[in-house]
Symmetry: C2
Subunit: 214 residues, 2 copies
DNA sequence: AAATGCTTGTGACAAATGTTACAAACCCTA
DNA sequence: TAGGGTTTGTAACATTTGTCACAAGCATTT
């Protein structure tokens, strides 16, 4: 798909020591995932660890009643902490992972992840860093849900979306936003309309354009 | 304080291999913490890893506006995942740890924790298990905050308290409950009164007694 | 352009939670 | 037992969010 195969590995050269990079190149499998496809669902067991080369993965919680709540995004050069854990303990997942864009990822057999914790300090550090970052993000998420009103959460959500996609034009329906924030469509429409009245954004069909002073 | 010093170490004998237990005994320092004392506050850096021998530690999030939210409890034989991470990466804490009861804990120098990840498979597994369990608990917490009403959250809270203390009589003010659930006192009084009317519990001054069909 | 299905706008109302204020009950200490 | 601080009960009201219903707008297909 791309010209230089080593590019995939090089995405991680700032984190990993040379020997690990070589090992990674030898052992990991490159996979392509289409935007919108669910890579991991609640209850599934994880068989491989994903290292994201390009694209973005949305990680969300689905509760028993089928309600969704966005937790965080996995971006280029990152991996998913829950995955590490589920792998190492062979437990089934409590979260869902969906490709937010077309994505490329390196898949690593579970056993290697465990070996490498002992073998490569840079791998151990990468894993622990990833875990801590996710912890921090989830706690931020708890904070928001517990203490912030929906208008503020919506603004943060839109900012983050804009960040991930690198664009101020977001292709989203009100329904989808509602789902990801764990509320319903009418609430979102209402709040978006207020933001539009305040000249923070413009609403189009299936599309929202953030203005400068958003 | 107790008669057999080895008891402290033996709390962990089901998780740790013999060599690790010996190393633990040689390197860890036993500490006593009084109920109610804050062991770790937001912004502090962690200098030692606590392994809980007896008692219980309450871990909660304090946000910028000083609002609190209970995340989970660390119980006997357990440790705190956030602590692992903060230690290994020398970052400052985003959470608060308070002794819920008088507690005994083994304190481990940060450097050892890192070494042991490589040296002892059972330590590595213990750390990863702890991290995964905390993740799961925090996600349960997100679920509750996002999707459950306060009445249900209150019931779960009281059940857990009763579990931790091993008693159906809880010494709690409505104010404290409100703080830990991130809401205000009047709301709690209201809901407790409803539960009392439903014959689920009895309200006394600074005390709540859960009835059989709670 | 008519039909269809999805998306958005909006009013009306219900339910849950937050806020303020104040009275009553309880508990400790003088 | 009287007083003072803390804790609990409750009314009244504001705000936020959830829910239902239905109209209007938009896009695609025929």
């Amino acid at each position: 798909m791309k010209s230089q195969p080593l590019n995939y590995i090089n995405k991680f050269s700032e984190f990993f020591e040379p020997a690990l990079l070589a090992d990674l190149e030898a052992s990991a499998m490159l996979m392509e995932v289409k935007s919108g496809s669910t890579m991991l669902n609640v209850g599934q067991t994880i068989r491989a660890i994903p290292l994201l080369v390009s694209g973005a993965i949305k990680v969300s919680r689905m509760n028993d009643e089928g309600q969704e709540l966005l937790l965080y995004y996995v971006k280029e050069g990152e991996s998913c902490a829950m995955t590490f854990n589920c792998c190492m303990l062979s437990q089934s997942s409590v979260i869902k992972g969906t490709a937010e864009e077309d994505s490329l990822l390196l898949c690593l057999p579970v056993m290697l992840m465990d070996e490498w914790m002992v073998k490569y300090p840079s791998w151990k550090k990468y894993v622990m860093t990833t875990i801590l970052n996710r912890f921090t993000e989830i706690i931020k998420c708890v904070d928001e849900v517990a203490f912030k009103n929906m208008d503020e959460r919506l603004v943060n959500y839109l900012k983050e979306k804009s960040n991930i996609t690198g664009s101020s034009v977001l292709n989203l329906t009100h329904q989808k936003i509602g789902d990801e924030l764990g509320t319903n469509r009418v609430v979102i429409s209402r709040l978006l309309k207020k933001l539009e009245n305040d000249k923070k954004l413009l609403i189009y069909n299936k599309q929202i354009k953030l203005l400068k002073d958003f």
